[in-house]
Amino acid sequence: MDRNNGQARNLSLIQARNLSKHYRRGDEDINVLHGLNLDVAQGDMVAFMGPSGSGKTTLLNLLGGLDLPTSGSISVAGDEITSMSGNKLTAWRARHVGFVFQMYNLIPVLTAFQNVELPLLLTRLSRAERRAHVETALSVVGLPNRMHHFPRQLSGGQEQRVAIARAIVADPTFLLCDEPTGDLDRKSAGEIIDLIEALVNEHGKTVLLVTHDPLIADRAHRVYHLDKGILIEGNGEEAHQ
């Protein structure tokens, strides 16, 4: 067990240094993350575990440029994202981050195809090029025949596959998955983690995921446990021994 030893041994794609995040709620000061260090290599699959309120989602938000740390720095592929302005950070997210949420967060009035196309509307790709990218992404997640289905016509597992297709369609530098199987039954959860694993092993994607499920975490290359804002490598039981 190492404390704050998230520093990888090889070349890092993502580097977080002395990362702290404090919130103020009324008179109370809430310290979510304390001086956390983390290194994630290209092609790594990293799982974060921990009890509710331990700061897992906050860490993911910071790494994805959705929130800014109180102190510390994050660099991704050499880009220091903590010093970026709001607009620049938004553009950076579009280029480098693919998000997968627990509740899928698809737009219900758009078809699977149109949902997956959303990130590409921000690019200069032509309509034909966008179509080709979307079809490829939906094929990768195994839904080439569900392109014109609306989310309400899909099962939970299929919806999450569409969400994964949306996350990978613009070929981001890494994927952030916040409890991607949290709302699925065991079978569907297994299929989704198989898919995520395939993205890492076959397509060289870098994936950081938050989960409560030790079976899902076991599939990651590395598992970190977050407790009271401190990052510990290994699962929670090891950490507390």
Partner: protein
């Protein structure tokens, strides 16, 4: 264009709500179209009144007559190049609902005074030859299906008895808003037949050699007849027409008040719809922002949605109003012209855009400022 599908999908999300909101725009703009047309109808006389003509009426009231003898004196006033006169008749053709204005006119001077109206010379000659002749406006002729040569009986109200006239000519206007719904007949016939007020006229119209002298000439005319039994009030034709409209009440204020209430209500209705639409979609907007949609793009998308609603509904309402007015005066002749003017349509279009933007602005700004982390936590 690439975001059009997202825009349309969002509008189709709650079809009933979209239809009702667009419908409220349609009703409001239809109402605006009718009000603008009415306003224009009431002001028609004011807008097309000659700038080089003065109208002289009795100082006490328009219904009090002036002596016919004033004609010669008016001719002598410096700056006056022509004089004509007329009298209101106010008869009924078949039924009271068949209202149209009838004037006893001086057949020798009326036509040359009002050159914006055209009559074929042979018809004018026939009119001048027939003491019981009359000239009717094209609109009036069409309204009752009359034709030249027809004999028209009119029941006098102020001037009793049944008066019969022969249609000798038809006048047309040279401008789109010229009123062609009036009935002109000869003053000499009228003065001979009426039982009272012989040798008097309802009002005079004089033509000026220079419109810039209007104020001075008007003053001189009124001074000329001051302290007489029939003192005068002289004003430009435009001011006369305007005061005539005001006798019916402050139409302008009435229309403005109704219009303002309608548009303020519309703003609240649409603003509320957009606010609900954005609030329902906070999660989706947060996801869009997370995957890289900049704040300004979300602002533009919400504004575009609000504007599309406004343009679809408002445009439909304005189009309906235009089509309705194409059918002509719905009162059957009370209004001289019933036309939705291009300028009024332009104002309507500007209001649609203004309300569309104003209604979407607050929700759009809140979408732009949305904090992804907070919004996703709310789900």
């Amino acid at each position: 264009m690439r975001y059009m599908r997202l825009l349309i999908a969002n509008l189709k999300r709650r079809k009933i709500r979209t239809i009702l909101t667009a419908g409220s725009f349609a009703v409001a703009l239809f109402l605006y179209g009718l009000l603008a047309t009415l306003r224009s109808s009431f002001n028609q006389g004011v807008e097309i009144a000659g700038v080089d003509r003065l109208t002289i009426i009795n100082k006490i009231s328009l219904i009090m007559p002036l002596p016919l003898a004033y004609r010669e004196q008016l001719k002598q006033i410096s700056g006056v190049t022509a004089v004509t006169y007329a009298n209101w008749f106010g008869g009924i053709y078949q039924d009271e609902s068949n209202f149209f204005p009838q004037f006893a006119i001086d057949h020798e001077t009326w036509i040359t005074m009002f050159q914006e109206y055209t009559i074929p010379p042979e018809q004018l000659a026939d009119f001048n030859r027939d003491k019981e002749g009359c000239i009717v406006g094209r609109k009036l002729l069409d309204r009752f299906g009359w034709k030249i040569g027809d004999r028209i009986p009119i029941q006098g109200t102020v001037y009793g008895g049944t008066w019969e006239f022969n249609i000798r000519g038809v006048y047309d206007g040279t401008r789109p808003d010229d009123d062609t719904s009036a009935f002109w007949f000869r003053f000499d016939y009228f003065d001979e037949r009426r039982a009272f007020e012989h040798g008097t006229v309802g009002w005079y119209t004089v033509k000026l050699s220079n419109p810039d002298d209007a104020a001075a000439v008007a003053k001189e005319i009124d001074q000329r007849f001051a302290n007489s039994a029939s003192e005068t009030t002289t004003q430009t034709e435009q001011a006369f027409a305007s005061s005539f409209v005001k006798q019916m009440g402050n139409i302008e204020l009435l229309l403005l008040s109704i219009g303002s209430v309608v548009f303020f209500t519309l703003l609240l209705v649409t603003g509320n719809t957009m606010a609900i639409a954005v609030r329902e979609r906070v999660n989706e907007l947060a996801v869009l922002k997370a995957i890289g949609y900049p704040g300004w793009l979300l602002l533009a998308l919400v504004l575009a949605e609000s504007l599309t609603l406004a343009i679809a509904g408002g445009g439909f309402g304005l189009l309906l109003a235009k089509l309705f007015t194409l059918g002509g005066d719905p009162t059957g002749g009370m209004l001289g012209s019933f036309r939705l003017q291009p300028m009024a349509m332009l104002y309507g279009a500007a209001m649609i855009v203004a309300v569309g933007i104003a209604a979407g602005l607050i929700p759009a700004v809140s979408a732009m400022r949305l904090r992804v982390v907070n919004a996703l936590r709310r789900v």
